[in-house]
Structures are given as C-alpha cells and as structure tokens.
C-alpha cells in the first residue's frame, strides 16, 4: 500500500527543523532534544521503509505527481537498491552526528538550536536527493543541499570557516550550474521527441544522438566529479572538512559527497549509457589518480581533519573506479563502499573530533601517548582507522575487495596500480596513530579525559555495524544487487565470463 512513505520521510526532518527553531532561545537543551527526537523517529520510519522494500519491492514506494507542467517536471519519488542504501545511511548518521556533536555548536556564530535545525534540513534534502526519480526535482534538491551545508560550515567551524564555506559553495555551484546546462539540454531533447518530461523512466526511452549524449553526460559528470570529489576538482574538500565541526564533516563527506557517486550511477550510467562507456578510460585514470594522489597527500598532512579529508578523496577514487569499471561486481562493490565509507569515515571523524575538542588543536604534532591517558579513546580511534584502511573482517574490506576484483576483470593495469592505494592507506592511518597515540605523553595531554558515556553511545552503533557487515554483508548486498543488474543491463555490458571455466570436478 502506498501512503506516501517517502514524502513522509522527507517531511519529517523538515518539520523537525522548524520545530527546533521554534523552541525559545533560552531552552537550548529542549531544542536539541526535539531535534534528536525527530531524527530518531525518521530513523525508525526509514527502517520500516527499508524492511518493507526488502519484502515487497519498490512499487509500494513510488510517487508521481505533476509539478510544473510547462517544464515537464514532476514531484516523483521512488527507491531502488542504491537509493535505499543511501537513505538508510542518511537516517542513520544524522542522530549519531547529533549525539556526538551535542556540545560542539555552543561556540558557534549562532545559537545551538540553529545548528541542529540545519542538520535536520540537510537530512530532509538528502533523503529527497536519494529518492528523486525526476531529473528536475533531483537538480533542485541537489542544489538546495548546498544552503544548509554552507551555513553549517560557515556558522560553526574553525577560524577560516567563512573562506571554507564560500569555497565549498562556489565549487559546488560551478558543477551545479554546468549540470543545469545539461538539464536544460535534456529538456530540449525531450521536448523535441514529443511531450517534455523529466521523469527518469521517460528520459531513459529517449534516443539521444551521439554527440548530444556526450555533451550532456559531461555536464552531469562534471557536477558529480566536483561533488564526489575527484582530483583535480577536490581542493575544496580539505578546506571545508578541516574547518567545519567534526559532525558537519561527517555529514559532508559521509552523505553529501555520496550524492556525487550516487548521481554517477543513477544519472550518468542510467541516462547516458553509451557516453559513459565512451568516457570510461579517462574516468578510470582520473579515479586512479584520486586514489593515489589522495593517499599520498594524506600521508603528508599535519592536521588530523585534513588528513581524514584526503583519505576520503582516495576512497572516492575507489568508488568511482568501481562504478566505471562497468562490471556488476565493481558496481555492487562501489555501492556497498558508499555505505561502508559513510560508517568508517563517520567513526574516524567523530573520534578525531573527540580528541581535538579535548586538546583544542587539530595538529598531529600536538599529540603523543594518548593511549596511555585515554585508552578507550585511543582504542576507538584505532578501530576507526583500521576500518578506514579496510582491514579484513571489517566491512570496508569487502567493498574495497569487490571494487578491485570487479575492476581487475576488465581493466587489469588500473586495478593492479590501484592496489597500491591499500598500502598507502595502511601508511597514512598507522602513521597518524603512531604519532598521536603512542610514544611518550606530550605536554598538555596528561589530563586528557577518556570518552564519556554520550560519546561512546554515538560511536557504538557504528562499531557494531562495521563489524557486523564485515562478517555478514549479505543483507545489504541483496538489496543492492537487483538495482545494479538493472543498471548494467541499461549500459548494455555483461560481465566477462571467467577465463577458467568451472569444471564438473570443482563443482
């Protein structure tokens, strides 16, 4: 039965944001509780939707209403395997970030409640982005997510926050506006073919001429490459993530940047399959450069948050590589990677945030010997780091392996070089751990408090999920697989048959 679940899911955080703002300024605690309450209810509702989707399929959740007839735009929401995974990720990370950043916004430019209200606003828009099945609606929400994020960075970050916020906004707008040109182009193609429509299902039926398809693809891809971010359009991310509060960085890297890779799957592969195949060589090389360059720069960082930002650039390189390898294994791996990367980066950013808030510095050189003073903090930091470097047994390992295996079956050289990224990952994570946590206790560290109950509560679900999905990823893979198969079919590529046939004896 379809009762507008997705609309409900989208409206709930939005109403929550307004409710949070309506709480009087003096009652900051009440406002935060209201916001957390709304995000938890959204999480429960998302869980219900996810279970329902798993049982009954996507039909129950599709909604289509005409919005702007002259533009052919619809208010159309729907889920597929990729979308639902990211909606769940969004709903999951939002309350975690709220609990973890409970006191982070008290020194911001504005009231604490506005920090929580912006987070809820961002959640609403992100859920909309991941479930939009109309290109126009997607574009509108895609651009609209910039506004809450802009105010989150600019309002509550470090000393250079204004600069970082503007840089983030301008990079995103550059990508977004070029995509706008492509969106307009799609309208023209669609209008020439008959009645203009922005519904994905209608656009997929269009017969686009080769040149037009390539140009339109480039517009979309550029926007997503800036968003993801891929080298050479990545320089905004270290600034933004370095200046923002850890909670904001989690939302930025964990959710918002996923829109880029999500868009590549749904729009680049979905709408422009031929052009996507045409662009594969260049995209794969760029992805490879992102993997290695991001990792090398991460090693050279002296600031913990910037280091984590660069690791994400490297990880996004893997995700893009898996997408454009055009194998079902790579694509499934990339989607799973998006989810796992959300978990592991969230853990890493949040624990790093705990650390930084205690010492008041993000410089690696200011730390040393933390594990002696605050063992739980050091332990979770190590755990988050290990999950980020894809230690076998933790969930990121599975996705990274799938991406590399999927890429290898089609592009051997690139996959082989990309494996270096794993080595470098071990290097940047373990070096950071060694410098901050081991060795003699540094001045100013002696009195460092260990994690309190609230902080542990925020990290615990992440730890459980990272271990759980590391051992048993099947539920998530099962949800992703059908959507990936559909996309593969759309692109018109099939997996290469294994070169060593399965013989009777081996069966």
């Amino acid at each position: 039965m379809n009762i507008g679940w997705l609309t409900l899911l989208l409206l709930l955080p939005f109403v929550g944001a307004i409710a949070t703002m309506l709480v009087p300024k003096a009652k900051a605690l009440t406002a935060k509780q209201v916001a957390l309450g709304f995000s938890l209810v959204t999480l429960v509702l998302t869980a219900i939707v996810a279970i329902g989707y798993h049982r009954n399929g996507a039909e129950d959740y599709a909604e289509t209403h005409t919005w702007i007839k002259a533009f052919g735009a619809h208010y159309a929401l729907g889920l597929d395997g990729v979308g639902i995974v990211l909606v769940v990720l969004t709903a999951l990370l939002t309350p975690i970030v709220m609990i973890a950043s409970w006191n982070d916004a008290s020194h911001g430019r504005w009231s604490e409640k506005s920090f929580f209200a912006w987070i809820l606003g961002l959640e609403a828009l992100s859920i909309g982005v991941f479930s939009a099945t109309d290109v126009f609606l997607f574009y509108v929400l895609f651009e609209a997510t910039l506004i809450p994020m802009y105010f989150l960075i600019g309002g509550f970050g470090g000393p250079q926050r204004s600069y970082a916020a503007v840089k983030f906004l301008l990079y995103s707008l550059l990508g977004g506006l070029l995509m706008l040109a492509s969106v307009v182009g799609l309208y023209v193609v669609s209008a020439k073919a008959g009645e203009p429509s922005y519904l994905l299902s209608d656009l997929m039926k269009l017969d686009i001429s080769q040149n037009t398809e390539r140009w339109l693809f480039l517009g979309f891809f550029f926007a997503f490459a800036v968003k993801a971010p891929m080298v050479p359009f990545h320089t905004w991310l270290p600034d933004a993530a370095g200046e923002a509060t850890p909670g904001t960085s989690v939302l930025l890297v964990g959710i918002l940047d996923k829109i880029g890779t999500f868009g590549m799957i749904r729009f680049c592969l979905g709408l422009f399959p031929n052009a996507s195949e045409w662009a594969t060589p260049v995209v794969l090389v760029l992805a490879l450069i992102s993997v290695l360059y991001g990792a090398l720069l991460a090693i050279g960082q002296t600031d913990i948050k910037r280091l984590i930002a660069y690791t994400s650039i490297s990880h996004f390189g893997f995700i893009v590589m898996g997408i454009f390898a055009l194998t079902s294994q790579g694509l499934t791996g990339s989607t799973l990677y998006m989810f796992n990367h959300g978990l592991s980066t969230a853990a890493l950013f949040l624990v790093a945030g705990y650390l930084i808030s205690r010492r008041g510095s993000a410089r690696i050189a200011d730390y040393g010997g933390v594990e002696k003073v605050a063992p739980v903090l050091a332990g979770t930091f190590l755990f988050a780091g290990l999950s980020s470097l894809a230690l076998p047994g933790l969930s990121p390992f599975i996705s990274e392996f799938m991406v590399l295996a999927g890429t290898f079956s089609r592009h051997k050289v690139i996959a082989v070089i990309a494996v270096l990224g794993i080595v470098l990952a071990a290097l940047y994570i373990l070096l950071m751990y060694q410098r901050t946590m081991t060795g003699p206790v540094r001045d100013g560290i002696e009195k460092l408090k260990d994690l309190n109950a609230r902080e542990v509560l925020a990290i615990a679900p992440l730890v459980v999920l990272i271990i759980g999905l590391g051992i048993f990823p099947k539920p998530v893979v099962d949800i992703i697989k059908p959507a990936v198969d559909e996309t593969m079919q759309r692109v018109g590529v099939t997996d290469k048959a294994p070169q060593i046939p399965v013989t009777e004896g081996q069966k």
């Binding site: 919005w67 702007i68 007839k69 002259a70 533009f71 052919g72 430019r109 574009y139 509108v140 929400l141 651009e143 609209a144 910039l146 506004i147 105010f151 600019g154 309002g155 926050r161 204004s162 916020a165 503007v166 906004l169 301008l170 707008l173 550059l174 506006l177 070029l178 706008l180 040109a181 969106v183 307009v184 182009g185 309208y187 023209v188 209008a191 020439k192 008959g194 009645e195 203009p196």
Partner: protein, 529 residues
C-alpha cells in the same frame, strides 16, 4: 459654404477601441486628474488624495486588464497603432502589479522621521536655508504620484505599440517623468541631481539614435507600422544598407533602455543616485517595458531579417552577461551592485530573446522565447523591488547606508531583514526553490531550444560569477562581526512592510509553484502584427 465643408466630408473619425484601451486610458486619465489635484487641492490633503487616486487607478486598470485577458480577443487597436495582444496584456498586468508595490514605497513616510524619500522642495538649493525651512514645514512633492502614473502609462503603451512613432512617443512619455523622479532624492541631493542629469542627457542621446533608426526604417519600408515593415522585408524591395543601419540604430535606442552592454553605462550611476524607491521602480518596470518593446519590434517588424541581427545580438547578450556579472564583483555600494546585477539579468533575458524559439516556427513543442522572457520578467521584478525596499530600511544619520561595508553583521542586528535580503539575493543568483531559478531555467531552455546552446554555457558560467558577489553580501551580513557604529534598521511602515512581503511571497511562490504563471505566459502566445 458647402465647398468649404467638403474636405470634412472626406474625413472619417478614426476608430478607437475604447474597451480594449481602457486600462491605458484609466492610467493616463488618473494622471491628469492628479495634476489637477496638485493645482486645486490644499497641501495637507494632497498626499492622501494622490495616493488614493494612484492606487485606485492602478488597481482598476489591472482589473480591466484581467477582464480583457479572460475574454481574449487579440486585435490591433487605434487604427493599428497599438496592439492589444496576449504579451501586451500580460506585460500590462505585471507592470501594474509592480507599480502598485512601487507606489506603496513612494508613499512610505515612517522610516525617515515622518518624511518621504523625496525632496521637499526640488527647487531649493541643496543645503540652503530654503531647504531647511521646507523640511521643517513638512513640504513635499506630491507630484511624484501623477508623474509615476504617467510613467506607468507610458510603459504600458511602449510595450503595446505596434507603430514606431507610437513607440517613440511612449518612450518619451515614460522617460521624462523618470528623469524627474531620479532627481528628487531627499538625502544626498547632489548625487541625485547628477544622476538625473546623466540619465536625461544619455537618455536624450539614445532617443536620438532611436529616432534616426525609425527614420531610416521608414525610408526602407515607407511605413512606420511594424506589420508594414515586416511586409516590406518579405517583399525585399528597399535598400539593404538602409535596413541594416536602421535596425542597428533602433537597436541601440532600445538596448539603452534595457541596459544591454555597451549601452549600460548610465545604469549604475542612475540607480545609485535616484531615490531608492524610484530605483526599484526603474529596475523592475523600465526593464519590463523596454524588453517587451525590444522583442516586439525585432520579432514582429524585423523577424524576417533575423539572420542579419541575431549574430550581433548574440555578441551583445554575451557581453551583457559577462560584463554585468564581472564588474559587479568590484562594487562597494549595494545599489550599484544591484544595478550591475540588473545588467547581468538583462543578459540572461537576451539569451532567450536571441534563442528565437517561437511556437510558429515548428521547432518544438516546449517553451517559447516570449513565454520564457515574460516569465523571467515576473520572477525578476518582484525580488528586485523587494530588495530595494530592504535597502531603504538600513539607515544611519546620513540616510540610507548603502556602502557594502556598512552592511557587515546585519544578520546579528536584524536576522529577519538580513534573512529576507539574503533570500532575494539567492533568487537573483538562481538558487533552486526561488523565483530566480525557475526564471533562469525558462530562459535557458528557450535559448537552447532555439539552438543557442553556447549562450547557455556562457550564461551558466556568468551565473557562477554572479553567485559569487551575491554570496559575498550574504557572508558579509551573516559571517562578519557587528561594528560598533553599525547603521540602524528603521522600523518600516505598513507600506514598505507590504512591499517587502509581496516581493517575498512572489519569490517563494514562483519558486515552488511557477506553473500557473508559466501557463499564463504560455497563453499570452506570440506577438501579433
């Protein structure tokens, strides 16, 4: 005796379609009544009476236009001199709606200690004893209301004129009151007078170009009517040199009013110097009238020679977008910045204009250029007046504090006002869910439909540059600290409050549900001959 009467017998009275022209006649009639009120009513009564006359005239005219739109019967009125077609009626409606908001701003008296934004005695030398006495006696020029009505009427006529001579007359009818209004600022009178002088001289200069162009086109076609020129073009009788020269000169005159580069240089000075409510009125209404006039002349009369003028218009569109958005970055005054922003917007409009996506041309069944431009004018006009209304409220001892540095930390002082202004700026920048975005989308798709996709690419890149300077103001308002000597935010009267509220409401509604207005613009159809 009878011989003397003979010539009279040949003369048939021209047929005037009073019903169709009623909206125009109401506005002009009310303007004349306003002049009489100035002459015969005692001073204390004038403000209220003038305001009432103006508001009633604008509302009645709007209602009449609405009735005409519903019982739509496209026709050429007044012996073919005025064309009361869909686009004209649509333009009248938006002109009247925006004029109503502007008139409310003109009537505001509570933000500057009970005085309006206009000079008490324009004739008094700035800084003189006479000026002070006038201020103390609360003398004010209520003539601004009839002047405004004349300007509005002229703009309506301009947008509907189907004959180059009527076009020229209408241009002068709406320009002359504007020259006057520009020079009437109460504060910073010298800048205001300088602005009026510049506007007048340059305006007169451009009128000369226009007139020369008209003369040449008359030489080419032997007629002033737009339809007649189109006929002459299709039969290809006259000299191409005269045609091209005439087209060019006419284009200069029209682009001057639109604010297209390189004929834009008056805009920043005049926008800065004029009283802010007048600036808002000019930025919104003049642009609307001028643009519709430009489209009518080039589509109806010169549509046949589009391949001659389209390349030049491409270049002008690109220049206008690029120069408007880049030069805006260097501005340090809010009003000047908004002036350059209005130039950039003219560039975006020009992309749809040169896109030439017309329903008749059978290119497609999507959005047409006329529809896109009309919609954009609506989505641009409301936030523009709203933004200038906000500018009137940020004041210090010297009047409005328009220097950008004075706006630092405004978000702390008055979050609501700064928030509203930020919203208008986001709309100008074309951020989704605002009127500006749907407007941009409409003009870009019209341009692309007509094959002008390179213009769309330039347009999105200039949008990015433009976004930079809009965002910079938002950063300044919200992310800077409040200085000790920050300007005050005046408490607006009901007039300014409702003007801002209307602008805000329109910006939100057109961003969320633009459908009805788009359909209305689509129903307006194409210009008729």
């Amino acid at each position: 005796m009878s011989a003397m009467l003979l010539p009279l017998a040949d003369f048939t009275a021209p047929k005037i379609e009073y019903n169709e022209l009623a909206p125009l006649l109401v506005v002009f009639g009310a303007a004349c009544v306003g002049v009489l009120v100035e002459a015969f009513l005692p001073r204390p009564l004038r403000h209220l009476v003038q305001l009432a006359i103006t508001v009633v005239a604008v509302v009645v005219s709007g209602v009449l236009t609405g009735i005409l739109m519903n019982g739509k019967k496209e026709l050429l009125a007044a012996q073919g001199a005025i064309s009361v077609d869909g686009p004209a009626l649509f333009t009248w409606l938006i002109l009247l709606a925006l004029s109503l908001i502007s008139v409310l701003l003109f009537a505001e008296r509570s933000i500057d200690g009970g005085l309006s934004a206009f000079a008490g005695q324009a004739a008094a030398v700035p800084g003189s004893e006479a000026e002070r006495e006038g201020t103390a006696a609360r003398i004010e020029h209520t003539e601004i209301f009839p002047l405004t009505l004349f300007a509005v009427g002229g703009m309506m006529l301009f947008a509907a004129s189907n004959d180059l001579l009527v076009l020229f007359v209408a241009l002068e009818v709406f320009s002359l009151p504007l020259y006057l209004l520009c020079g009437l600022a109460r504060r910073r009178r010298l800048i205001s007078q300088e602005a009026a002088m510049k506007y007048f001289l340059l305006g007169a200069f451009s009128s000369a170009f226009l007139l020369f162009g008209i003369a040449l086109l008359y030489g080419y076609a032997g007629t002033m009517s737009l339809g007649g020129i189109a006929d002459a073009l299709s039969s290809d009788t006259g000299s191409d040199t005269i045609l091209l020269a005439g087209t060019g000169l006419l284009g200069v005159g029209l682009l001057f009013k639109v604010g297209g580069v390189p004929f834009h240089s008056w805009t920043p000075d005049v926008y800065q110097g004029a009283p802010t409510p007048v600036t808002g009125f000019m930025a919104a209404c003049t642009k609307i009238a001028a643009f519709v006039g430009l489209m009518r002349v080039f589509y109806v009369a010169l549509g046949g020679s589009r391949w001659d003028w389209a390349p030049m218009m491409w270049i002008i569109a690109i220049l206008t977008m690029v120069v408007g958005s880049i030069v805006a970055i260097t501005q340090t005054d809010v009003k000047r910045m908004l002036a350059y922003s209005s130039i950039a917007h003219a560039g975006f409009l020009l992309t749809a204009f040169v896109g030439l996506a017309q329903a008749g041309s059978g290119v497609h069944n999507g959005i047409t250029s006329t529809q896109a431009v009309l919609f954009y004018l609506v989505s641009y006009g409301f936030p523009t007046i709203g933004a200038f209304a906000v500018v009137t409220l940020v004041r210090d001892a010297g009047g409005e504090a328009t220097h950008l540095s004075r706006w630092a930390g405004l978000g702390k002082k008055s979050p609501l006002l700064a928030g509203i202004f930020a919203f208008f700026l986001l709309s100008f920048a074309g951020i989704p869910l605002t009127a500006g975005f749907t407007g941009k989308w409409a003009v870009f798709s019209a341009a692309w439909t007509g094959g002008a996709w390179p213009l769309v690419v330039v347009a999105v890149l200039s949008s990015l540059v433009a976004a930079f300077f809009y965002v910079r103001v938002i950063v300044l308002m919200f992310f800077s600290d409040l200085p000790a000597d920050a300007p005050d935010v005046a408490l607006p009267g009901w007039q300014t409050t409702s003007a801002v509220a209307l602008g805000l409401a329109a910006t939100v509604v057109l961003g969320l549900v633009p459908g009805p207005v788009l359909d209305l613009a689509a129903r307006a159809g194409e210009f008729i001959r």
